[in-house]
Symmetry: none
Subunit: 249 residues, 2 copies
């Protein structure tokens, strides 16, 4: 049997069943496991499948980390995410909120960092799947079509059963006086649950949102332990936040 034939067979097996054992393939093809291993290695190198310990899995839709190019103020958000990523510690248990800034944070998690991440956000969850050492736990619930996050009583309840070291969240509006506020009441309910579930809160927020407010309140400003903006921590725009025991990054 030709090598090409073998590899073709392997590919169809993988495509058919999504995952295969090297030993099974070896048996089917009647070749040594080494040969199969080498074949799978090659196919992996050609990006035809993904080799895993003991077998291979289909790429499926895995390769769809297409960055949304039209993120508003992307540059600044990346700066924020970059700063925030320094708060991550190996072995940490964290929550990552939805929103484009948090999504950037998820993207910036180093491959070698071992984390347990909770999230409500489908895009964040997707992004986290690319991180080899991140355990992803999705908080289920009714999914909001626009925010693409779990919401509603179910999500709130599920959040009530977890407890994380750090929670990285975004907000619609923030203001020293009124704290974190949102346009949407349902969102606020979920965010409150997130806050309850976290030991420490990190707010990721572009400076443009500072000193703005809306009608529904998520929490007071001093519920926030660390605030990360794209500005330098000593920037005057942040003065108002300085006397609130908030760490500025």
């Amino acid at each position: 049997m030709l090598k090409e034939e073998r590899q073709q067979t392997i590919l169809s097996e993988v495509a058919l069943h999504n995952r295969v054992l090297l030993t099974d393939i070896a048996e089917i093809l009647e070749v040594s496991i080494d040969t199969v291993r080498r074949d799978v290695k090659e196919l992996d190198a050609e990006n035809k499948l993904r080799k895993v310990h003991g077998g291979a899995i289909s790429l499926g839709f895995t390769n769809q980390s297409k960055r949304n190019t039209n993120t508003y103020a992307l540059e600044q958000k990346i700066v924020i995410a970059e700063k925030a990523s320094h708060l991550l510690r190996n072995g940490g248990v964290i929550f990552i909120d939805g929103g484009t800034t948090c999504l950037e944070l998820a993207r910036l998690i180093p491959d070698d960092l071992q984390l347990t991440c909770f999230t409500l956000s489908l895009p964040v969850a997707f992004e986290l799947l690319n991180k080899p050492n991140v355990e992803v736990i999705f908080i289920g619930g009714k999914i909001s079509k626009d925010a693409q996050i779990s919401m509603g009583a179910n999500a709130v309840h599920n959040l009530s059963e977890i407890n994380v070291d750090y929670s990285f969240i975004g907000t619609g509006y923030v203001d020293v006086l009124h704290g974190l506020t949102e346009f949407d009441w349902d969102i606020v309910q979920v965010k409150k649950a997130v806050i309850k579930a976290a030991k420490k809160m990190v707010l990721l927020c572009i400076s443009e949102k500072l000193n703005s407010q809306h009608r529904f309140k998520t929490c007071d400003i001093n519920a926030i332990n660390t605030m990360v903006t794209e500005l330098a921590p000593e920037n005057n725009l942040l003065n108002l936040f300085r006397n609130h025991d908030i760490r500025l990054l």
Copy 2:
């Protein structure tokens, strides 16, 4: 024998069997292996076939592998999804499993159909967000990097609290005798929970998977109410399933 003739023979052999061994050809044509090798080299240069170590393969053979970059057997899966979509009723409460076939079903849900959909699969959830009249509820849990679905105790528990009319599921392997089987034990646990949560089960399965099995059992074949393949219901390949009170589509 003329060179032209020889090469023609080689080509037809390749066309017929998709592949040839140089040694076989040499024997058939009663020429030295070197001659065959040179012939094949020429034909390869003319793009009439592809030379590989030890033989040659037809061009069509390799092109098939390109299709794998997307979804394996996509055509058939769309056919299946199309048939399955006729089972959907306005106002229905359903569950949609992960996997590419189920993903196609999610894609095919009409915009005007009002549904409540539970799912464990991130890609399916994403797809469903595009459907204006579908309420999406994601069953949370630890997300499997391979299958991109919720798994583990949490997912199982969350499933225990729901009840749907129809559950559309896929399977790794299916066989009349051994029922639905999987490669992965954890997957089986989740699928069992799915089955418990559904009044009726619809299995979406390309015919290629019929009469295959693996080591972990999800359920007996008669746990399935309806089976959808890309074949016509009266196809002989489905005969074995006929006396199991399964509706074939």
